[in-house]
Amino acid sequence: MGNPMKIRAASKDGVTEVKVLVSHEMETGQRKDAAGAIVPGWFITELVAKHGDKVVLTSDFGPSVSKNPYLAFKFKGGAKGDKITVSWKDNKGDSRTDEAAIN
């Protein structure tokens, strides 16, 4: 379990904009440490966002997504107080789920 995600969701004119900031190292697997050994890759592979029970975004990440990934997207619908749930899974099998209410 990593650190909590920051999730902001705002509804305006029937469209909800969701912004997610995930706390994750996103190690590429290309870097070498001081001893010259390759630092193994460690990155988020899948991230799913839901509005209530409905999936609104499924994303697959590669190691070239930046450290502490940021993601913003919009979907139609969503009212104030509705719940947005975001879950991710990384290549080491770690995962985390956080939720936030729409403002």
């Binding site: 379990m1 609104v56 499924t58 697959d60 997504v65 913003a72 997207f73 139609k76 879950s87 995962s95």
Partner: protein, 155 residues
């Protein structure tokens, strides 16, 4: 004092929570987290990546926009956005031509989600960024060159 005990407690509750979520059907393996397309992310070149994604042919389209800086000072954090006005967009992918693995991220958009995503990517060097959009079963592309001035070479 007793750090190990803390760790054990933490990991224990974490695992229990996951178990509960799974039991409640909130996280169902293979559904909530669909299969990660390893072949596509491992592919080195643009052509291989497109093949792994099952893209047969693409059309350049003005209705797909790639947004990002013209010059990125720090290649580790380059804000990139893809937007499209095409109808029924079901998939969006961001590809970086000169990265070791071209595919940076792909998104599946269910109905109701707008074709407008923004994220941040790493870029090893100055490269073209491609946005791939699937609309009505056809693939469309747009491109933008982003210069990376990492190391202060001035691009």
């Amino acid at each position: 004092m007793n750090n190990q005990r803390r760790t054990v407690l933490k990991s224990g509750s974490g695992a229990a929570l996951l178990g509960m979520l799974a039991a409640a059907g909130i996280i169902t393996p293979g559904m909530a987290l669909a299969d990660w397309n390893k072949a596509a992310f491992d592919a080195k070149s643009m052509a291989d990546t497109l093949k792994a994604l099952g893209v047969a042919g693409t059309t350049d389209s003005k209705d797909v926009q790639v947004t990002g800086p013209d010059i990125a000072e720090n290649g580790a954090v380059v804000p990139v956005g893809v937007a499209s006005t095409l109808p029924n967009v079901t998939m969006v992918a961001i590809l970086i031509e000169k990265n070791p693995n071209a595919l940076a991220a792909s998104f599946v958009l269910p109905e109701g989600t707008e074709a407008n995503v923004q994220t941040r990517v790493k870029m090893g060097q100055t490269s073209n960024i491609y946005a791939l959009v699937k609309s009505d079963g056809k693939f469309f592309m747009a491109t933008k060159e982003i210069k990376v001035t990492l190391g202060g070479c001035g691009g």
